[in-house]
């Protein structure tokens, strides 16, 4: 505040912070002549100078907040007026150039020549060259017409010092003017030039119109004022500061979005892990549920079966007499024997078995023996089960031997040799011979009945039936089913050292059933007695001839 008047800085602050139109109007009024005069000196046209003046104050209205405290407003306005006027001047020159070209083409009416440039142009450039504090001193003294006391206050120095600084500034200005071609320039002449320049007055109504236009323009830009302020502030920074500020400003949204994305990605990863874990748990739970269901089914079945067993056991106990039949067979740990129902005996293989050597880790193997062999020898289990005495065993063997002899006699007289070998033996093209024993059903049945009768007499029907049933397989091969089928025993010579032997039966319907075959380096004893001479002949003839 200077003598009750607010300073430029205070007015500018008031306008910038509160949008105080009166403060701005006062600034316009205070500096209108400076701006208008500067523009007029450069452009030489009042109308254009008024437009430039208006633009400068619009710019002031927009940039008020960004003008740093301590900047002399008069100096700022003077520089802005020069820049704006020169810009306008260049624009006009380009336009005039185009219009000249159009005039040469006869498309535009010719216009009067522009006025000569004013000598004050050197003054403005010289002022721009002055240091800021000298320039500010001269503006205060000559364009604002301040007394030295106020200048001293504004610059924060004493009045004498203000006078001396003004004098030094004028000398400096004169030096610049001399350098720019005004050879006679002195400090006094520079002062007179400045006084003359300051006399340029703007039209009376210009201050009012400029104030309203500038405020309206600034108001229009109010929506972007923040950006304008930001841009203006940015312009006042160095490149490094600008970059730093921008990076800081830009980092916020980038950081926010990065943080949000990063947080979400972490959540996705965590959720995926949880889902994988839940999926595993789900698979286990599904398997557990299925297993529980199967276990439940198994238990239900087990319960049903246990109840059924219970019913049967209860029925047996309640319906049987004092000794239920089932109790006859219950296991007695101390007894050496078990009771076995007779009805079960035919289902058992009472032949016993011979354990075979097996390697460790492999299932034990055994070879089943015959309950009754072709000589009539009875296995130990069957002997013990039937309680067969040694005398009975001997008689049984005699009966079997007698039967076999009779049967062999019958067979021998009926059997014949033939080279008609059944095709199933695959002996085509080879030396082959077959011993055929025709079926002897009538004689065979008589021999069988005789043996059966003998066994019945020796053991009684019950035990004899069991022997007969257990010996069934023995009667098949060794006894030729008592002549019930045609038997074919065929031999073939495959080549030196290689023989084949087939053993088969043909039933009354003509169906051939193989009873076994073998091949290779067979012993001659393997073949039926009647085939042996023939087989021996093959082998002899196949041996290499001595030289």
């Amino acid at each position: 505040m200077q003598d009750g008047h607010p300073t430029d800085e205070q007015l500018l602050q008031t306008y910038a912070t509160r949008r105080d139109e009166a403060a701005f109007a006062l600034l316009v009024q205070r500096h209108l002549n400076l701006v208008f005069g500067t523009a007029l000196r450069i452009l030489g046209d009042r109308t254009t100078a008024e437009e430039v003046t208006q633009n400068v104050f619009i710019s002031l209205a927009r940039k008020a907040a960004s003008i740093r405290p301590g900047t002399g407003l008069a100096g700022w306005l003077h520089r802005a007026a020069i820049l704006e006027a020169r810009l306008r001047q260049r624009t006009d020159l380009r336009r005039l150039s185009r219009e000249d070209h159009a005039a040469q083409l006869g498309t535009t009416m010719p216009t009067p020549e522009p006025p000569d440039p004013l000598p004050f142009e050197i003054l403005d450039d010289a002022l721009l060259e002055l240091p800021e504090k000298d320039r500010r001193t001269l503006f205060l003294r000559y364009f604002e017409n301040r007394p030295f006391r106020e200048i001293a206050n504004a610059l924060g120095i004493g009045e004498d010092a203000a006078q001396k600084r003004t004098s030094r500034a004028l000398d400096a200005l004169a030096g610049i003017l001399r350098r720019r071609g005004a050879a006679t320039a002195t400090g006094a002449l520079a002062a007179k030039t400045l006084e003359a320049a300051a006399l340029t007055a703007a039209p009376a109504q210009l201050a009012t119109s400029i104030t309203s236009v500038a405020l309206a323009a600034a108001g229009t830009a109010a929506s972007s004022s923040a950006l304008a302020i930001l841009v203006a502030k940015l312009m006042a920074l160095t490149n490094t500061q600008t970059a730093a500020v921008c990076v800081l400003l830009a980092a916020a949204p980038v950081g926010y979005q990065w943080h949000a994305a990063s947080t979400l990605q972490q959540a996705v990863a965590e959720s995926a892990r949880e889902l994988a874990s839940t999926t595993n748990t789900l698979a286990r739970a599904e398997a557990d549920a299925a297993a529980a269901s199967r276990r439940l089914d198994a238990t239900s079945t087990r319960l049903a079966e246990t109840r059924a067993l219970l019913r049967r056991a209860t029925d047996q106990i309640s319906t049987a007499a004092s000794t239920p039949e089932a109790s006859l067979y219950l296991w007695s740990e101390n007894a050496s024997h078990v009771r076995v129902p007779k009805w079960l005996a035919p289902a058992l293989r009472l032949s016993g078995s011979l354990p075979l050597p097996t390697s460790p880790g492999f299932k034990p193997q055994s070879q089943a023996l015959e309950a009754v062999d072709a000589t009539g020898s009875i296995s130990e289990p069957l002997t013990e089960a039937l309680g067969i005495t040694p005398g009975e065993a001997s008689a049984i063997r005699e009966a079997f031997a007698r039967t076999a002899a009779v049967l062999q006699q019958q067979v021998h007289s009926a059997a014949y040799l033939t080279n008609q070998i059944p095709a199933q033996f695959r002996a085509e093209g080879k030396p082959a011979v077959a011993l055929v024993t025709p079926a002897l059903p009538d004689r065979g049945n008589a021999i069988r009945d005789d043996l059966r009768q003998t066994l019945n007499q020796l053991l009684g029907t019950e035990r004899a039936n069991l022997v007969w049933q257990q010996a069934e397989s023995t009667f098949e091969h060794g006894f030729n089913q008592f002549g019930g089928v045609e038997r074919i025993e065929a031999a073939a010579f495959n080549g030196p050292g290689s023989l084949s032997l087939w053993n088969a039966a043909r039933d009354p319907d003509g169906k051939l059933t193989s009873w076994g075959n073998s091949g290779g380096n067979l012993s001659i004893d393997t073949f039926p007695v009647r085939l042996r001479p023939i087989v021996a002949g093959w082998l002899t003839n196949s041996q290499p001839q001595r030289p």
Binding site: M235, A260, V268, S271, E286, R302, L310, W331, S332, R339
Partner: protein, 307 residues
């Protein structure tokens, strides 16, 4: 002016980075929503399975109580039968008493004479009951021991079974197959055998358990594939012939391709020992059929509907 350019460059770069992160965040949010939905669905299914398991466990506990009660009754009935037992009297009756329904056989022959201990469905056979003199309670214990062994073995097979891809690249309604690779269970099977042996000994005593060992091996072979203790591929195959007939078979192949066994499968609408089923009753495998022992893997019905 330079400051403006720098600012613009920085802000454009920041805008691009912001948009990139925003897009990333959007994608992540979408993925998160999907995962959360899947998670919710999985949790729901998990809860359902757990509820089923809990229900089954509850029912299992109830059935186990009933079973214990029934077993106790059966044991009591068996003890009553044992009290009525008469000791074998070979000296008086002779080995083959002519007027009795039984004969005497030395115990030492029981492991030689060869008999079938269990039916294919795991019930003691009449031969086993008679020869080993099993009480109702022992029959029950023997059947349960075998059922537990079979259940545990089949559970191990289910756990180790690895579904093989369908050999048909294009689905063919006239040719279907389901195949699993089964591990040999070399390490687990001996433990199960030991458990079975212990259960048998507990149920019928060591003498009879020893006698049962060999006959039960045949049944164990039914369950452990004909290829023995080797990794194998077991396949359930079905083919429709040109004449409309359908063939089903079970095939076992050694995993190393060295051997293969194949068995034809038959189906029936009736269940053994029960009255014939209605015509709309589906065809199923039956006791004794090769598929019977692999129902836990393939189910019990035809792969291709029978004509």
């Amino acid at each position: 002016m330079t400051q403006i350019v720098i600012a613009c460059l920085v802000f454009v770069a920041a805008l691009a980075a912001t948009l990139h992160h925003r897009q990333t965040a959007r994608i992540a949010a979408t993925e998160l929503s999907r995962l959360q939905a899947e998670h919710a669905s999985a949790n729901s299914a998990l809860a359902a399975f757990q509820a089923r398991t809990a229900t089954s466990a509850k029912r299992q506990a109830e059935l186990s109580l009933d079973l214990s009660a029934a077993s106790a009754e059966l044991k009591a009935a068996s003890e009553a039968a044992l009290r009525a037992r008469t000791e074998p009297d070979l000296a008086t009756e002779g080995a083959w008493p002519t007027n009795k329904p039984y004969f005497y056989l030395p115990k030492r022959f029981l492991s030689q004479i060869g008999f079938t201990a269990l039916t294919p469905d795991g019930t003691p056979t009449p031969e086993a009951i008679a020869l080993l003199g099993l009480t109702p309670s022992e029959r029950d214990d023997l059947r349960n021991a075998w059922a537990d062994f079979r259940f545990d073995l089949q559970e191990l097979q289910i756990q180790s079974a690895e579904r093989m891809p369908d050999t048909n690249s294009v689905p063919d309604p006239n040719r279907r197959a389901i195949q699993f690779k089964l591990s040999s269970l070399t390490n687990q099977l001996p433990r199960l055998r030991e458990q079975l042996d212990a259960r048998l000994t507990e149920a019928v005593g060591s003498t009879r358990a020893q006698i049962l060992r060999s006959p039960l091996e045949n049944r164990i072979e039914d369950l452990t594939t004909p290829l023995g203790e080797r990794d194998c591929i077991v396949g359930y195959h079905a083919e429709r012939a040109v004449d409309g007939g359908v063939q089903h078979y079970l095939r076992f192949e050694a995993a190393d391709g060295s051997s293969m066994h194949q068995y034809a499968i038959g189906f029936t609408r009736t269940i053994t020992g029960e009255v014939p089923a209605a015509d709309n009753e589906p065809y199923r495998t039956s006791v004794g059929d090769p598929l019977w022992h692999y129902r836990h893997l393939f189910g019990d019905q035809p792969l291709i509907p029978l004509p």
